[in-house]
């Protein structure tokens, strides 16, 4: 990070630039105005590659949706595949049940393990421990980083066995899978997942010891809720403020707004405002659906469903790591290969929506399909755009406590706060460019 000497800013304005790295695809900037020592305005600007996907899905066959939308994200392709499959199946009035449904859940467990493993160990933990990145952290915490890498790999392995490859699985189709694994294909995974569950429990205890700022906030938490299970693929949309709707009603309650300073859309709960999706929302709204072991360890480390400190999200993610390992083990233990690898689905002439729980929160898809089976309209609302307003609100409340810090210190605090949400820009070790304007008193 450098202060740009070539620019001649107004006297009371300081512009800080983070040195850009080659081939940066996602980045963020934060604009901060301070007046009389008080924060006047915080605007978070997330540069995303423009989301052409909704436009170029039009005219493609409905069966192509899972493979095309999987390309939106390299870390949560399963979420995109699952939301698009569910939307198409809803358009066709078909439900995928039994072992095919279990296999989908298993694939999703793999994605949660991989994504949470990456975020907890490689991205977020260094913030708490004062390291600039996982590379420096690894020198002092070798065993922890190695445990994280191994956990992440086991998540990848589920993707390999079931999805056909680690990133952008190729085995998922509307109605199920192209090919289903045999019981023997899963033998090694079951062994590895037992280790992974123990490692995840250690992770909960380890993250619970990290230093957390006192930052309890009042949020509207939104997640899926299912009568029998911790939510991943199905359920109703609920919140701690009384929301309880079917997925098909999503757009009557939530709307994306375009704000001038960012090309990422910001989503609001109509009549309510900003809301919060992701692990903390799922955990708070579905605590009783976690396994007994998850609930017991969470309580032991002092994490209750009532937790509203987003920094403690790193512990919640670790609880979900344990849940995903245990759920994957449950599925493997009962697995019998289904007779058919998929069910017939014809979405032609239908409109349907699907909502699933990506590692970082709700992912909503809606499609209208014409009589030829081609997509006439597509709508995709990713978790990061749903959380963006809440992230801004957090920064607005947090920054006043850190105005005494130098620019580097302030940048660090803000990045850590943004990373609480595991947004789709958080990978770059330092991704923020802060413009600080100090207006005269």
């Amino acid at each position: 990070m450098t202060t740009d000497p070539s620019a001649t800013p107004p006297r009371n304005t300081r512009t800080i630039k983070v040195d850009y790295l080659a081939r940066v695809e996602g980045e963020g900037a934060m604009h901060l105005s301070v007046r009389d020592g008080r924060v006047d305005d915080v605007r978070l600007k997330i540069f995303e590659p423009p989301r052409f996907f909704e436009a170029f899905m039009r005219g493609r066959h409905f069966r192509e949706a899972p493979d095309i939308t999987a390309r939106i994200c390299g870390i949560c392709p399963v979420a995109y595949q699952m939301s698009s499959c569910h939307a198409m199946e809803s358009a066709a009035g078909v439900r995928v049940t039994g072992q095919l449904r279990e296999l989908r859940r298993l694939l999703y467990c793999g994605e949660w393990i991989e994504s949470h493993g990456l975020h907890v160990f490689m991205l977020h933990a260094p913030d708490f421990l004062g390291y600039p990145s996982a590379i420096e952290m690894a020198k002092d915490h070798r065993e922890v980083v190695e445990m994280g890498l191994k956990l992440k790999k086991i998540g990848n392995d589920i993707g390999n066995v079931l999805g056909g490859r680690e990133i952008h699985p190729v085995n998922v189709k509307v109605g199920g899978f192209y090919k289903v694994p045999s019981k023997r294909d899963f033998a090694q995974l079951a062994e590895d997942l037992k280790w992974a569950a123990d490692a995840a429990e250690k992770t909960i205890r380890w993250t619970a010891e990290l230093p957390f700022p006192d930052f309890e906030q009042d949020y509207e938490l939104v997640s899926l809720s299912h009568p029998d299970e911790y939510p991943m693929n199905e359920g109703r949309l609920v919140s701690n403020c009384g929301l309880d709707i079917a997925i098909a009603e999503y757009e009557e309650h939530f709307q994306e707004e375009h704000v001038p300073y960012t090309n990422a859309l910001q989503s609001v709960h109509l009549g309510h405002g900003a809301y919060f999706v992701g692990p903390m929302a799922r955990f708070a709204l579905n605590f009783e659906k976690l396994t007994p072991r998850c609930r017991a360890v969470a309580r032991e480390v002092g994490l209750e469903a009532s937790c509203r400190n987003p920094f403690r999200g790193i512990i919640v993610r670790s609880v979900e790591l344990l849940y995903a390992c245990e759920e994957a083990l449950r599925i493997l233990a009962q697995y019998e290969p289904p007779e058919a690898s998929s069910v017939e689905v014809d979405a032609s002439g239908g409109t349907g929506s699907g909502c699933t729980e990506a590692p970082r929160g709700l992912l909503y898809h809606r499609y209208s399909v014409d009589e030829n089976g081609d997509i006439a309209e597509a709508k995709i609302v990713p978790p990061t755009s749903q959380n963006q307003k809440t992230i801004e609100n957090d920064l607005r409340r947090l920054v006043p406590d850190f105005l005494h810090l130098d620019d580097e210190g302030l940048q660090w605090q803000c990045e850590q706060a943004i990373r609480n949400y595991d947004p789709c820009i958080s990978c770059a070790t330092h991704f923020l460019k802060i413009h600080r304007e100090d207006a005269p008193a």
Binding site: L21, A22, R23, V24, E25, G26, C73, G74, I75, L118, M122, S133, A134, I135, E136, A138, K139, R142, V145, E146, L149, K152, K153, N156, E166, I167, C424, I425, S426, C427, A428
Partner: protein, 147 residues
């Protein structure tokens, strides 16, 4: 016996970013064993070279040099230049893989990286003639290095 792993890193859909993949294919076509193609994802790279004595890696780079120029870097004891840091939305890259492995004490003792200077990294673009020539050159130099 020395175990050397050869890795070509790149993205086939991003123009000259495919240069490293071209190098891997050229070497595989010449009968070299243990040649891998990789997206450059940090953790996958660390798996590929785990336990090896030496790793020879080819990747596209953008350093401001003439297009197609091949540069050789010895990362056995020092970090790669910033041109190898691949910072996409959620991925780490080659330079991070080398440094993370070094921190963890499991970087192969010998790490040689050949960078092929690219011109265009546009979505869907083909490999440029300059980068294709650079890939040939890099493959020859890896063959020399293999002895």
């Amino acid at each position: 016996m020395t175990r050397t792993v050869v890795i070509g890193v790149g993205n086939a859909l991003r123009g000259d970013d495919a240069a490293g993949l071209r190098v891997a294919r050229l070497l595989a076509g010449r009968g070299i064993e243990r040649v891998h193609e990789s997206s450059g994802e940090t953790f996958a790279l660390m798996e590929l070279w785990n336990g090896a004595d030496a790793v020879l890696l080819a990747d596209a780079m953008r350093s401001g040099a003439e297009p197609g120029v091949v540069s050789r870097f010895d990362a056995s004891d020092e970090p790669l230049p910033a041109a190898f840091r691949n910072c996409s939305t959620h991925a780490f890259g080659v330079a991070e893989a080398v440094e993370l492995a070094r921190s963890l004490g499991n970087l192969p003792p010998r790490v040689i990286v050949f960078g092929v200077e690219g011109v265009s990294f546009e979505h869907g673009a083909p490999l440029s003639a300059e980068a294709a020539a650079g890939a040939e050159n890099a493959a020859d130099r890896i063959l020399e290095e293999l002895g």
